[in-house]
Every structure is written in C-alpha cells, then in structure tokens.
C-alpha cells in the first residue's frame, strides 16, 4: 500500500438526504465511494489525490432494478452480477449483460457498480458503449433538486462530466424501446478475461425491407470519452448493406473516432479493429 492512510477520511452518511447535505455544505470537498473497485486501485498505488470520501454503498435509494411500463430504472449501485441475473435486462438489454459478463472477474462483478463505471469516466469502460446504444438517461440529484440528463450529453471531455460537485448519480433509466434491436458486442482486450479494452464495440440496429431503419454505434477506447458515432449512423440509415455501404461506413467511422497510441495499444490498431468490427456487424445484420 503506497498511500498514507491517516491522510484520508471516509464517512458513511445514514441516508441519501444526509449524503446530499454533506456534499452541499462543502462543494468539492467530498466524493462518493461506491464499490471502490476503481478508487482502491488508485489508493493502493498511492495515486489517489482526493482525500475525503463518503461511502454510498449502503444507501437504499441507489439500489435495485425497477421495471416500469416504458422504462427500466437501475440504481447507480447496481452491480454487474445484478445486471446479469435480472430477467428483463437479459431479455431486453443484452448488450449490458454482455458488457457485465466481460467486466473484471467475479469479485469485481459483485462489487463494481454501473454508477462507478459511469462517473469514473474512463474512455475504456465497458458498460458505457452499451448504455449509449440504449439511449440511457441519468438521474442526478443534489439538495438543489433532481435532473434527468441524456447519457450522451454526460461526458464532455477526458474525465470531464456534466455533473456538479454537490450531485450524486442516483439512477440510470433505459427506455424499453430497444428489445427488438439486433445487437452486437465485442470487447477487444487481447486476453479473454480481466482485460482493459483496447477497443470496445457495442451496436444495435433494425432492418426494414432490406434497409437499415435504425442503427446505433457506440465505442470505447477510441476517443477521450466513450462515443456514439452519429455520423456513421447517419451514413448508414436507410441504406442497404452492400460492399459500397460497408466501405463508406468504415471510412466514416475511421474519421469519426480519434484513438491514440498508449501503453496498451496503438491508434492504428484501434482504427483498424473498430472498422473491422463495424464491417462484421453489418455482415451479421445482413444475414439475419
């Protein structure tokens, strides 16, 4: 452990109200500590610069999966294991289940939360591409009130978010309009498990009369944030799937994403693999 523990403070407010009050009293002073699976890694390495945390792990308002008529609501503390076990999630939101299955190992799946995955804001996180495909909305709460934000507008730059320091992410809402999407998920991390994505690709589409009626493409690890590739979607909409479309889509995708060289991979590799996966998705779509 490379951290000096006495430098840190951890509080466990009794209720959401207490937690929000604490956040409001000292804006920027306190930060949420959910499953801790991102934070503990930093702490162990001596890289956790923020010092004051409030544990939200036990707050009931942030837990559970609720199924309503037109949407499913996931508490921010929903774990990967819970996502995989829920019947509605399995049936209607398979991309999220696929992401959950390939996240960490069993211990991480039991402890890591969707809220943490979102707010940690890593461009390599694995559930955000799925959430983007499903047009997820986030519920952000503070003593000032509650707001609902399309997830697509949440990440504004590398580790930059549309979230105030007195806010907590409480819920994630998924509209129940996507159950019939043909979906495709591929996490490329070189090894089969316990990998950080080099490219994460989630997609869904509907065909109508041989043409693409609806298409959603979202990628991780190819830009400063996870991204929905709307220009490529635009290009594909109403098209039939043939070689020319595929080629044009590949080219568009490669201009739309902006991967970098880093310790884990190269920009070139990420571009090529992203384009290959898009082509593979289109090929499968055509044959369904």
């Amino acid at each position: 452990m490379r951290a000096y523990l006495p430098d840190y403070e951890l509080r466990a407010p009794r209720s959401l109200t207490d937690a929000l009050a604490l956040l409001a009293r000292e804006p920027g002073g306190w930060r949420a500590f959910a499953g801790g699976t991102d934070l503990m890694v930093l702490l162990e390495a001596g890289l956790l610069t923020h010092r004051k945390f409030l544990s939200i792990w036990h707050l009931p308002e942030l837990k559970g999966i609720e199924v309503a008529n037109d949407h499913v609501t996931l508490g921010a503390l929903t774990t990967y294991t819970e996502v995989q076990r829920d019947e509605t999630m399995r049936r209607e939101f398979p991309l999220l289940g696929a992401a959950a299955r390939e996240t960490g190992g069993i211990a991480i799946q039991n402890r890591g939360t969707l809220g943490g995955n979102i707010v940690n804001a890593s461009p390599a996180a694995d559930s955000p591409p799925a959430l983007l495909v499903y047009d997820a909305e986030l519920e952000l709460v503070s003593t000032r009130g509650t707001r609902l934000l399309p997830y697509r507008e949440f990440h504004t730059g590398y580790k930059q978010m549309n979230m105030q320091s007195d806010e907590l992410l409480t819920r994630i809402r998924l509209p129940r309009t996507t159950g019939d999407l043909k979906t495709y998920y591929r996490k490329v991390g070189t090894r089969k498990a316990q990998a950080i994505s080099k490219v994460c690709f989630a997609a869904g589409a509907r065909m109508n009369d041989g043409r693409i009626a609806d298409v959603r493409l979202a990628l991780g690890s190819v830009a400063p944030t996870v991204v929905r590739c709307t220009q490529t979607e635009e290009l594909l909409r109403n098209q039939t799937i043939d070689e020319a479309t595929t080629k044009a889509a590949r080219e568009m995708l490669m201009t739309e994403i902006t991967p970098i060289d880093d310790m884990r991979s190269t920009a070139d590799y990420r571009l090529n693999v992203a384009a290959n996966l898009l082509a593979d998705f289109l090929r499968q779509l055509k044959h369904t």
Binding site: R186, V188, A195, D268, V273, N276
Partner: protein, 748 residues
Amino acid sequence: MSNQTDTQTKIVGKPVPRKEGRAKVTGAARYIDDLRMDGMLYGATVRSAVPRGRIREIKFGAGLPWDEFVVVTAADIPGENCVALILLDQPYLVAKFINHAEEPILLLAHADKHLLEKARRAVTFDVEPLSPIFTLEESLAKKEIIWGEDNIFKSYQVNKGNVDEVWAQADFIIEGEYRTGAQEQLYIEPNGVIAVANADAGVTVWGSMQCPYYVHKALLKLFALPEEKIRVIQTETGGGFGGKEEYPSMIAGHAALLSWKAGGRPVKIIYDRAEDMVATTKRHPSRTRHRTAVNKDGKLLGMEIEFVIDGGAYATLSSVVLSRGTIHAAGPYNCPNVRINAHAVATNVPPHGAFRGFGAPQSIFALERHLDKVAQVVGLSPAEFRRRNFIHEGETTATGQVIREPVDMEGLLARAFELTDYQAKRERFARANEGRSLKRGIGFASFMHGAGFTGSGEVYLQSIVGAEAGADGRVRLLAASTEIGQGTNTIFAQIAADALQIDFDLIEVAQPDTSNVPNSGPTVASRTTMIVGKLVESAALGLKQTLQNSGLLKANYTTDDWRAACRRHVEQFGLLKSFSQYKPPPGINWDEGKYQGDAYGAYAWAVYVAEVTVDMLTYEARVEDFVALQEVGKVVHPVLAAGQIEGGVAQAIGFTLYENVVWSEGRMLNNQMTNYIIPTSADIPPIRVYFEEQPYAYGPAGAKGIGELPMDGGAPAILNAIEHATGVAFNHVPLLPEALMQALNQTA
C-alpha cells in the same frame, strides 16, 4: 498404517500428496509477510528516477520527522559495497554513479509502514544526467561505453568443424534474424525478507528465495563477517521461476543494513507488485542471426549463429545465461560445421536475470523459426527437413558432445503428430483458410534441454546433501535446495523413501537454513531432481548401509524393523547421519577455454505441437490446442511433472503472444498486472502432456531434469503455426495483435 506398508512398493512414479500441501491449503503455511517480530521496523528502498547519472546531492523533504527514521546510504556499509555473485560490479547502494532507473540509492526504516511510504517519496536526488543506452544495438555500437571497456559482459565462441569452408559447396544459404523480448517472472509472492543484524550476533535473514547460499555468500562480503556469523533461512516461498535466484541477495542485504544501523532491531522489506516488477530482474531480451548452409538433399552442412543478449546494467548472471543459450543454439541436430558467436552486453536498464530456460528459450526460438524457413527454401516440409537432420546416439552436438543415450527424435515427432493429427490438419487448414476471418494453423518445434549446471559447473559446486535418522526412525533430509512451489520436498521424500524402502511419511525435509543444512547448490538449472535428488538417494542409502554394516538391520526389512534399528543405533551411538557429495558421472569432460565437450550430463528431448487461430478482425492469435511430448528419463511424480510442463507451456504462451514489457527511458512503464498482460486460464488451451521414459543411469531412479524444458518449445511452435495460418513469417516475440495487424495488412 505404516505397519501395513508394503516395503517393496515403489513411491517414485506415484502421485503421492505434496509434503507441504496441507499447510498451504489450510493457510497454515507462513510466508515471509506473515511473520512479525518484536520491535520490528519496516524498510523501504529509495530508487533512482533516471537511467544514468552522477548523484550531486540527496535531499530530504520538509514536514517529516526525519530523526525517527533509520537512514542508510552507501557510506554506512560495513564491508564491501557489492552484491557478490559472479563478478563484483553491482553495488548494494549507489555511491555516486547511477547505471539504471530504479537503482537503489538510499534505504529507510520506520515502525509505521505508511509513514515510511510518505518518507520514501520525500527523498529526492539532485543528479547530473549522463547519456544512457537502452538497446543491444546501441551497446554493440558503443554509442556510450557504460560497462568495462566495450560494454561486453561476456563472449563465447563455439567451433565445430570449419564453417568457413561450407558456403562454397552449399546448394542453399539461408539467413534470418530473430528477436525475443524481456519477460517478467511474475511469481505469486513478491520478493521479501526480514533481517536481524548487529555486530555481536551477526546477521540472520529470513526470506522468500531460491538459493540460500547465494544470499549467504553475498552477505559475507557486505558485512565482512566470518561465515558462522551469517545465517540465511528460507521461508515458505510463493514461486520463483529464476526471479528469486539472484535478487534476494540484494533485498536481504538492504534489510540487514537497515537492521545493522538500527542496532539489531528486526527490519522487514516486502516489495509490492509495482516495485517488484519495475526494479527486479526479467528475462534477457535477445537477438539471434542465423546463416545456414544446406545441400540439395536437405542435409545441414553448416550453421553460423550470432547470439546476443541484453544483460542490463550489471553483469549478474548474464555470462551463465549466455552460456546456456549458446549451447542450445544449434539444437538437437547433427550438423558437421558450426560456429556460434555469443555476447552478453550492457545497457542502462535494471539487470536482466534468471528466468526458467535461462537463455535457451531465446536461442531455441530463433533456431526453430529459422529451420521452418530453411525447409521452405529447400522445398521440404518442416518435419521432413528436421527428420533428415536429427541427432542420434553416437553423433555430436555443437560443442562436440557425443550423445551416449538412445535418442529418438523421429519417434517423438511421429508420436506428437499422431496425437495432434498434425499431417491431416496441416493440409486441411491450408485448404479451408482462404477467405475465412478465423484462420487456423498448426506448427511444431523439436528441441532439447540440458539438465544441471553447464560444463564443469556441477564439479565446482561440489554439492552436498545430508540425511539423519532419529530414534523414532524418522529421516530428515538436509539440503539447501528450496521448495518454491515446484515440489522439491515431495520428490526428495519419494526418492529417499524408495532408497530406504520405508514409509513415505517417515521422511521429512529440513527447512533450508545455512546454519544446519549443507550447501546442495542453488535451486536452478533443472538440477534439483536430477543432481540433488541423486545425492538424496546416496545420502539415504548411506544411512541404510551404516545400519546394515553394524548388524542392526537385516537385508530384508519392514518399516518397523527400520524403526527398531534406528532406535538401537541412536541408543548406542547417537544420531545417525550420512552425507553425500557430488561426483561427476564417468566420462564427462568439458573444456571451458575451447567451449567444447560434454556441456550437460543429460538432456531431455521434446517435440511440442501448437494449434492456433488468428482472428482477422482483431488480429488476435490464440492457442487452441497444445501437445507437449517429452522424454525425461523417469517421471518421479506424474502430477508434479505434468504440472511443471503445463505451467511452463502457459508461461511460454505468455512469452509468445501476451507479455510485453513497455519500456520508457529504460524503465518498465506497465509494471502492474492490469497492463502487463499475462494469459488467464481462459486464454490457455488444454495442454496435453505426454512423457516417454528412457532411464538415465546417473539420475535418481533414472530421472532427468524437466523444470525449464517446457519454456523452450512454445514460442517457435506457436509462431510456426501462425505462419501456417496466415502465410506470414513472424520472427519476434512477443507477437502482439498490433504487429500482426501491420504485417497482415501489408500483405493483404
């Protein structure tokens, strides 16, 4: 139970439970970090941030109670500031010149390990930078001279026949260059020790290690104390793979220096994973160049091989790693003319060190990739080309060693092919791959691995093993060979139990402690079963002989008779002891000057076959099936032996397709398990292990060494399979998807 024991039943060859298995499974086994002593301090190492330079000043940051800390610099060293191993070039602490990033400069100890961590970061160094070199090319080109006169730690030349004369008669001359990268051992338990040291009591060190007597030798010099004042005790050790061969001498010295300065308070140093990965040894990166002459019948006429390894900043074990790599460079082939030029060179990176295979995986990789190329040029299949050149009994290796055991490489090849359906798959995959996005391939490598120290190494070591029997008939084996997870204690007990024809449970193995076990040599070089096991057998037989000579034990006896005889012996004469010392088998000759002769007492022979798929969407290669077939003399313990092979193959798969040390300014950037990618169980195919047995006359019960062998064949077999799958020849490992992509897109 033991009353019923059939004393004729052989235990060698049976999968008996591991001696220390119960303690490990129940958590009773105590590793170094489980141990705590009264008044113990924690130690930390402050290291260099730069790869090369001269220290101008050491600065202690504000805001810390420095007077509470024990602080040790080079000036505090009571003896010599060098880690005694082969040469004396590596300091324990930098006095002035920094030669690699993460080099230890200053030591700190404090009772509060968290405050210690804060203090470590508060110490900084004002350094005048010097130009570093990081690659073996820069070193060979003498871009800077950073070690000795020419950056060369060691060179060897092996000559057989006259290779200069073959080029003119050759029908084909084939050249190639092959490279391998650094690899981290990644044992489960990081390096750690506890030391107690003061002028009166001397120095005692407990720790995780492979070679207690190496540590003993190093501490002697560091403290300039008489031998009996230094004591080294191996605690339960969670893996080594060579990574705990030389480095424990460093960390043990550091903890002992802190304890010495603290007046004898115990000091514990445990590295976390990040420090262990960034600062300790890795496998030597290598470059091998081949030039091969072949006639139109596919017969090898001559091989010229240049083998260079990057040793890092200090000599450490590079000369011996180079030696093993050199001797294995020409493989199990009969070639009349061979020249091998080999060099270990210096660069400004942390010293590279021992890692399973010890230079052989590097040079065998090059050869077994190269021979696939040679076969292609000659117009033969890789298998047929090798068949025409395999070595046989009576023929000679590159060092001129006459093979005196019956070797049947053709037989191994045929069986390995049968087990994998190689021929059919070779044809079927080639046909089916066209246009597929998952391409399949199959390839193999044939090779050998010498067991024991090279050349006269074992003669110099003069290893000794002891055995003692108490009044209750229990036999304690005394050896410095360490149980590091590989099963030493179980194997030794099996060998002794069979030698004495008594119950396995009556045998115990003493904890290696230099104050009461003899020096049976280091736990390295696939020597523990074959060499030390043989000494265990003779020491045990010595006990039996004493009892029989004194008339206490008859020719045929039961375990109960044995007990009774021991009791009587102890009553009449005291504890029964027997020691055995290494003697080379007859007819072993080695000329160190010419680098010729019998390089190893025995070789294990093997053919490994790998089947792969290459995903053309993600450029990821995966091993789908792996057959490891080897001839190993005698399998002492089938489960442990298979475990060694499976583990070695898994490590080889990591070396080949996953494990990439990312360097920046001579420092490992990805020193975390998240970013240094080792394969998981999901990435490892079923590893199908097969043994053939051809008992070796001088091994215990006929056994030869196998610990390193499985590291050798994986990389070339896998890359040969990838070439089969993709049609592209790759000549370096690790071969990552990024490199596959570049080459495949170029050829597409």
